[in-house]
């Protein structure tokens, strides 16, 4: 594949003149809310951690957990093995806490700060919408604080807890304590440790035994203040025979400085439980010269703890300057199932080193990986996947398919599969393909009457079909549109 160094411009290839870097495109969500923010001083220290903890009114055990994590983090070294290139991050040059000033406690939607409401409307998340009719509850997160959690009552009737992480620490401390850190412990990796020390908020979902959550749960994130690192922490627990589908969608405004996003997501599925976690990620990717943009260094992991439990990750990633994440599953319960469906797009100077980890521990476990990487402009897209079958994980089965699509001749696609099989009765299959949308294909489409934009869209959608069909309906539509917008101007 291409060895293009994204920081070095390559000479134009005349023959591929049709496929070039983007035309000017205003990032659709580029705006900033003029909301009063309660902002901490820059830098990371024990004091800042204490500040965060006290702002959130946390119990002592939570503060202790944070401080331990901070200690851990200080002893760790930032990893640089990924195939991504970025300027060193100055961790002292980041604000670790910012919350919009709440004027009063909110009991209903009418009491939401009108400025905040307006922000949400611009993002297309109207809290006024009849989300309930379409079956979606929305937990809107602005910066590092939750604002309004809707439809609590519907969920409460079913016994489902869906609230901000902060609220969960207050109202359901036992549950949080029991499960938090059990999938991604603070010492797991550098960014997980950082998150454990300074996380401010995120979502908490708890679905009790036998309950199928009646609504598709959804959350939106948005970084508002400059230099604010986004450290979200989400925990979803599905007890025996419970089921839940959760949607995560992100947007962020245009910025000149890079912003770090080191979130942690933990999923726990007990016996016969099912968790479906879908993400459509559209963070600011940097401008056409590769300046600015979000760094998305996320640790997401699902623990199929129970027998016949099932966790599936579906993601469409089109944003961020750098994406570094491996949503994975630990298949501990016998007959448990882990799935990963992903479309990752890199355009202009975006870089991605992403993939999944499937660890087979129990007996007769099964995992499926379908990864579609699309590279355009000078984007670099690396798939890194690990399928690990431990000795004793008899009857384990894995199927992986990694396909890359290159748009143009200055982007790159790379695949690093790690198959570590320590069990003779396991079956592991891996397929990979690389294809290119070339000028000849576009010419072919165009002279049959199909415009360049439609042709690229058609080809790309055909490529992503298998993944899109795993997304919940409304996300699938949004994902297709997002892909279209992200690819605008990459050709012609």
């Amino acid at each position: 594949m291409s060895n293009v160094d994204p920081s070095v411009p390559t000479p134009d290839a005349g023959a591929n003149a049709e496929i070039q870097d983007m035309a000017d495109r205003e990032y659709k969500y580029g705006f900033v809310s003029a909301i009063d923010s309660d902002v901490a001083p820059k830098g990371l220290s024990e004091d800042i951690v204490r500040l965060i903890s006290s702002k959130k009114n946390e119990p002592d055990w939570m503060l202790a957990w944070r401080l331990q994590a901070l200690e851990r983090w200080r002893r760790m070294e930032e990893p640089r093995w990924a195939m991504v290139d970025y300027d060193p991050i100055d961790y002292q040059d980041i604000i670790y806490y910012a919350a919009p000033k709440k004027k009063k406690t909110l009991k209903s939607l009418d009491e939401v700060d009108p400025e905040i409401r307006a922000t949400f409307e611009k993002l297309g998340i109207s809290l006024d919408e009849q989300k309930r009719l379409s079956g979606v509850a929305v937990d809107a997160v602005l910066d590092s604080a939750s604002v309004a959690t809707t439809f609590q009552s519907t969920l409460a009737e079913a016994g489902v807890i869906f609230c901000s992480f902060g609220e969960a620490v207050q109202k359901h401390p036992d549950l949080v304590r029991r499960y938090m850190g059990s999938v991604v412990p603070a010492g797991d990796n550098y960014f997980a440790a950082l998150n454990a020390a300074v996380f401010t908020d995120g979502s908490f979902v708890f679905v009790p035994k036998g309950v199928v959550c009646p609504l598709e749960l959804s959350t939106y994130f948005r970084i508002n203040t400059a230099n604010t690192g986004q450290f979200e922490r989400t925990l979803i627990v599905a007890e025996e025979r419970a089921a839940v589908s959760y949607l995560e969608g992100c947007t962020a405004p245009r910025r000149d400085e890079n912003q770090l996003h080191a979130a942690v997501v933990e999923l726990v599925a007990l016996d016969e439980a099912k968790i479906k976690y879908s993400t459509v990620q559209n963070w600011y990717p940097g401008d056409k010269d590769g300046k600015g943009g979000i760094y998305n260094f996320v640790t997401k992991r699902g623990h199929c703890r129970g027998r016949k439990s099932h966790i599936s990750w579906t993601q469409v990633e089109t944003g961020s300057a750098i994406t570094w994440k491996y949503p994975g599953c630990v298949l501990q319960g016998d007959e448990s199932v882990g799935e990963f469906y992903s479309v990752a797009l890199t355009n202009n100077y975006q870089q991605a080193d992403t993939g999944t980890k499937m660890i087979h521990v129990g007996k007769n476990t099964r995992s499926t990986i379908i990864s579609k990487g699309i590279s355009a402009g000078r984007g670099q897209n690396a798939y890194r996947g690990q399928v690990k079958v431990l000795a004793g994980a008899t009857g384990a089965r894995n199927f992986s398919q990694c396909d890359s699509l290159l748009l143009g001749d200055r982007c790159g696609a790379h695949t690093f599969p790690y198959l570590d099989v320590g069990e003779p009765t396991a079956q592991v299959e891996h397929e990979a393909s690389t294809s290119k949308v070339g000028e000849d294909q576009l010419f072919y489409c165009r002279q049959w009457g199909i415009s360049t934009e439609d042709a690229v869209s058609m080809i790309v959608n055909g490529f992503c079909k298998e993944v899109f069909k795993e997304l919940p309906m409304e996300f699938a539509v949004e994902a297709q549109k997002l892909l279209g917008i992200s690819l605008e101007g990459t050709v012609g």
């Binding site: 294809s435 072919y444 489409c445 049959w448 199909i450 055909g462």
Partner: protein, 253 residues
């Protein structure tokens, strides 16, 4: 329908077509023949608007419109189609979907309504049967895994559905066995009407046994050096192209 006047075309700085004059009227079938490198494919692709070729001089009028002003998709909307010498594969996009998208794009250009799903399927089935194409092929990705013959049949099928005014078929007969050739030829003949026209680019005479041309033009080194009626094909088949470079013909490049 098509008027080409003094067309000069270059690619990467080299002049390939050096003054082509050609007129094609409605209802006519013209054949372009000539040795390799004479510029046949360049001519075909230039008509479709391929960007690797630059028109340095001359004009092309299509049904009264200046073709060179139109984008590739617009030319398709106006009714020009190019059937490729090497049809391209498009993985992940089914034939059915592709043809329907193309058909709707053209209808939209012409201000017509899009075709309904059921109507389209009916049309597709009908034309596929005529082309003796296995319907299963239509669910597969465009040209993916198709043999050379299947690709050509697919091209003709698409043409039958899109119904162009001027079909430019570039080396349609290359790589076809006798039966496939006959099916493709019959597909072309069936398309032929008083209000459309065909430009067949071919090396060999055998296609012209089935699709009888009104005029044959011999291209050499970027110029049409000879034009004639259908008998010219038999003569070329017999004599080859060697006579073209003979000084007596005065056609030195």
């Amino acid at each position: 329908m098509l008027e080409i006047k003094n067309l000069h075309v270059s690619a990467e700085g080299n002049e390939i077509l050096r003054g082509i004059d050609l007129t094609v009227r409605e209802g006519e079938v013209h054949a372009i023949m000539g040795p390799n490198g004479s510029g046949k494919t360049t001519l075909a692709q230039t008509l479709a608007g391929a960007e690797s070729f630059t028109v340095t001089e001359g004009e092309i009028l299509f049904r009264g419109r200046n073709l060179l002003e139109l984008e590739q998709e617009e030319r398709a909307g106006e009714g020009i189609f190019l059937s490729f010498q090497y049809p391209v594969e498009i993985p992940g996009v089914s034939n059915r979907y592709f043809i329907r998208t193309a058909l709707n794009a053209i209808r939209k250009y012409r201000g017509e309504d899009e075709i309904g799903a059921m109507e389209f399927l009916g049309l597709l089935k009908e034309k596929a049967a005529v082309m003796q194409m296995d319907p299963e092929l239509l669910t597969r990705s465009v040209n993916e895994g198709f043999s050379g013959g299947e690709k050509k049949r697919n091209e003709i099928l698409q043409m039958a559905i899109l119904d162009p005014k001027l079909a430019v078929l570039d080396e349609t007969d290359s790589g076809l066995d006798i039966d496939a050739l006959r099916v493709v030829a019959e597909g072309i003949v069936r398309q032929k009407r008083a209000d459309n026209a065909f430009l067949l680019v071919t090396h060999y005479q055998r296609l012209l046994d089935y699709v009888v041309p009104d005029r044959i033009h011999v291209l050499s080194k970027g110029r049409i050096i000879r034009s004639g009626g259908k008998e010219l094909a038999a003569e070329l088949e017999k004599e080859g192209y060697a006579w073209i470079d003979a000084p007596a013909s005065g056609a030195k490049g």
